[in-house]
């Protein structure tokens, strides 16, 4: 399909393990966002990539969280030494241009459960 895809759709892990979440943005979209959605709460911004510029990491909650975007396309969000409070749905979105007023297109999310 032509939309944003994320994998896995569900991930269950044990406390202390590392996890990697993947996002494939829409082809040609230069901007990519990661958000976290905890139960009963709105989306929380994590990180933003725009083209070849340095990413905006201002939303990452701790140094256990990191993300990279290879070749301006696929992105991986890594959470090291997972904690139970990391349990949430992790959403990826992409947009065509560099303005954050551009429409963001969202993937279906990865539901992370830390036991």
């Amino acid at each position: 399909g032509a939309g944003v895809s994320q994998s896995p759709s569900n991930k269950v892990t044990e406390k202390g393990k590392d996890v990697e979440l993947r996002c494939d943005p829409i082809s040609g979209h230069t901007a990519l966002y990661w958000y976290r959605q905890s139960l009963g709460q709105g989306l929380e911004f994590l990180i933003y990539f725009q083209g070849n510029s340095a990413p905006d990491k201002s939303g990452l909650p701790s140094d256990r969280f990191s993300a990279e975007r290879t070749g301006g396309s696929v992105s991986t969000l890594t959470i090291q030494r997972t904690q139970q409070e990391d349990s949430a749905v992790y959403l990826c979105a992409s947009s065509l241009g560099g303005s954050t007023t551009d429409t963001q297109y969202f993937g279906p999310g990865t539901r992370l459960t830390v036991l």
Binding site: G3, G42, L43, A93, T100, T101, F106, G107
Partner: protein
């Protein structure tokens, strides 16, 4: 603090009745405002956005929202809802770093 507040976590309404989903933003949030919708088992999609110009913004599926600067509100309305409008609706604004900040969402429940 920058915030977007959705006052209702759930709004039940009868089919074909009008609906209003409320959204207020703090004055420190920029006046770029958005409504996104998440249908069951689907990803978020943009419903409408206000960037500038007319304060009444029309979106997809018959929804509209009105930007009210004096009341710092951006309420979403539809004159007649359908069962297919069952979804969760999220209001968002832009912070000083040009990132979206989101309300907690409102679940629209359509009663037959």
């Amino acid at each position: 603090a920058q915030s977007v507040t959705q006052l209702d976590s759930q709004v039940p309404v009868f089919e074909e009745a009008p609906v209003e989903l409320r959204c207020n933003y703090s004055s420190s949030v920029s006046v770029y405002l958005f409504w996104y919708v998440q249908y069951p088992n689907q990803g978020l999609q943009l419903l409408l956005k206000y960037l500038s110009g007319s304060t009444l913004v029309k979106g997809i599926n018959g929804f509209e929202a009105e930007f009210n600067k004096s009341q710092t509100s951006f309420h979403l309305r539809k004159p007649s809802v359908h069962i297919s409008d069952t979804a969760e609706y999220f209001c968002a604004g832009m912070d000083s770093n040009y990132q979206l900040i989101w309300g907690a969402g409102t679940k629209l429940i359509i009663k037959p």
